[in-house]
Symmetry: C2
Subunit: 422 residues, 2 copies
């Protein structure tokens, strides 16, 4: 056994189940009959690690660790920080200082890049360390893995919200004729696409997809993903067509929709630490378009961060898989693996079965997996049955959450406990 301590850190935007992954990793480590060493967490991700802000997870109340299974947000705190080339050797030196031989990094594709560089740097500096990536993202855009922990919970919440707002829209004969929901998802439309699940699709055992007749006009009516260049005139025609037929129209659009020249429909020009353009207002832009060009009153519900933190209605399938990926990361590392990300591998056929696999970090770093063009209809304003078959099983089951005074009972890591002397 490789003796030494472990380090776990979170990175990027949280999901409803990122803490479940941390719980899986930490509980698995602490339950080992023979622990290689202590399991530390870096408070505030890689920035915190650079600052040597480490806590011993064994000092946390076990009930608090367990409650991470249903607590949203980043329990260990998180950051979006692009580590410079020079800083990687510093990171390895910090690992050496605290005898960290197991490095678990829980994040999306920017994070898998950091993880990969960490792995390469450690090897180059002759420092033996097992580096494992634990996937995470509501955008569902990590490659190789069938889907990413965090995605299905956001999908479940978005679909339920679309279903409910859709019922509301159809049931009140008022001036608001068009409802637009802006969904998260920078360059990949996986989450936006999941809004389609609000329609009552039934997937038979043989895979055929059926939509009961009295539900065919349920919301959403139009879905716009960033994978298809957004055509404003086409959009307005689409909305007019639905409105003419039903008297109202329900639209779901990704925050990242772009025109054919690659300009975001709504961008304020600011960029984040990784060079990504900060998006705001695609939904507002569409709302204004509809009102000005079609003369129809429209409302835009921008759910924002509620989509990635709605643990009051998370997918149990997602939460269980998130936990399993954390657990697997530890087991892979103990078995000698390094330089890989844990993957979720869907088995072919029915019913839905998912096993755990792995992929080299180099193959997942900085790669964005987008929705296949053939899973979007020809017109580019809805998704196909292939997508429904893909997504529906992922949202099965609702994560049970303890309640107190009518609201979820979430936990907090006490970052004052088990602080490691610098």
């Amino acid at each position: 056994m490789l003796k030494g301590n472990a380090l776990i850190a979170q990175s990027g935007g949280p999901t409803a189940v990122i803490n479940s992954s941390v719980c899986g990793a930490v509980q698995t480590w602490l339950n080992l009959s023979e622990q290689p060493g202590t399991i530390y967490a870096a408070v505030s991700g890689i920035k915190g690690f650079l600052n040597e802000d480490l806590i011993d997870m064994a000092a946390q109340d076990p009930a608090v660790i367990d409650a991470l299974k249903w607590t949203p947000g980043a329990g260990l705190f998180s950051c979006r920080y692009k580590v410079s080339e020079a800083e990687y050797s510093r990171l390895v030196e910090i690992c050496r200082k605290y005898d960290i031989r197991y490095f678990f990094y829980n994040g999306g594709n920017d994070s898998m890049d950091t993880c990969n560089k960490m792995s390469i740097a450690a090897e180059k500096l002759g420092y033996e360390m097992r580096v494992i990536g634990i996937p995470k993202t509501v955008d569902n855009d990590l490659p190789i893995t069938d889907h990413c922990p965090g995605y299905a919970s956001a999908a479940k919440y978005l679909a339920a919200t679309v279903m409910e707002c859709g019922i509301d829209l159809a049931s009140v004969a008022t001036k608001n004729k068009v409802c637009i929901i802006e969904a998260m998802g920078r360059n990949a439309g996986w989450l936006t696409a999941a809004a389609a699940l609000a329609k009552r699709y039934e997937v038979a055992a043989d895979g055929t997809v059926h939509l009961p007749a009295n539900t065919a006009d349920d919301a959403p009516h139009l879905i716009y993903l960033p994978e298809v260049p957004f055509d404003t005139e086409r959009f307005l025609q689409d909305v007019q067509n639905v409105y003419d037929r039903l008297g109202y129209c329900f639209v779901v659009a990704s925050e990242g929709i772009m025109d054919k020249d690659g300009n975001y429909i709504a961008a304020d020009g600011k960029v984040d630490a990784f060079g990504h353009v900060q998006l705001s207002g695609a939904g507002e832009t569409l709302k204004n378009l509809v009102e000005e060009r079609l003369g129809l009153k429209a409302r835009c519900n921008t759910l924002g961060t509620a989509q990635r933190s709605a643990a009051h209605f998370a997918s149990k399938t997602d939460a269980d898989e998130a936990y399993a990926t954390g657990k697997q990361a530890v087991e892979l590392a103990l078995s000698g693996k390094t330089g890989v990300m844990v993957t979720l591998d869907r088995q072919p056929g029915e019913p839905y079965v998912c096993t755990l696999g792995e992929a080299p970090l180099a193959n997942v770093a900085n790669v964005e997996k987008k929705v296949p063009r053939e899973w979007i209809n020809e017109t580019g304003n809805f998704v196909t049955e292939d997508f429904i078959r893909y997504a529906q099983p992922l949202i099965a089951g609702t994560l049970p959450v303890p309640m107190q005074n009518g609201l979820p009972c979430y936990t907090k890591i006490d970052a004052t406990l088990g602080r490691v002397k610098k």
Copy 2:
């Protein structure tokens, strides 16, 4: 017994539990050992009634009627229509034509006015009819009744969303420092105020309110209700203060906040059928203010209609009370009462107990009950313990909803069944 048919109709914006009220009324009527007559529903509210679009509710599948208990939106369809003085005699004539002797109208304060005028018109025209109002509104602004069906479910959902988005905000050290949520509530801040419940208040049996030390800085940090004139400079100072202390700030503001001259902070000038100004963008306005004046990056989550339709997370207390008010409406009418609205009367002391009462329609029509100034702090940017004691019991319990394929299983009234010949 007054022989004759009943009519039930919905009016105004739906809530997560307005259908529960209809279910209570309809099931109670259909379960009578001796029904005075048929129970009709007007499809699309008073406009539908003017058009004589009636359906016999006994023709609906009983399972569909039962499923109204957890289905959001207006199951009988609704409208916002201001009945003109001349139309009231026409309405009474329609009642006479279909021998309607029991008139149940399920709506908010505009609707209670319609209901009152209906009652007066029938009496003036010598037409005996029992007219009962069933309260409904997320705004919670009907007077006399302690609270309104629909309010607590929206409050529960808003508070959970604030809690979750707050955790998200506090857990990621990114550029978005200020999160603003715009809450529904045209002129009364009851729903906006309920965001305060996201803080982990504990109300003891003796009524004292305690906030555990490690939760004192939880979201929300600032709450702005329309009852207090909005002061832009004060707001910016408030946000700066919280940000300086915590590094981020969570704001909840009502869509109806106004400056000291009575101008809505965000209004686009359009009015609805009842002369109410259509509001949009208070949250966006505040977001822009924060970014431009304080230089802090902010996001605004406009939950919109999700707040009034989130039956996936409704208050069981609310749903049960909504049902009870529908049931009570029928029982009051059968006992000879007319010209009243069913009220929810809270009994003093602990634990929370609510009984059913009634109030003359004339006393509730067109009156808006606002949040008492003494339940808002002096500065006007948060609520007091009195409000917490008032609101917390209302959100207790979560309404169970049957699920299918990972999403709620909502029902639809089949408006083609039991259509009454015109």
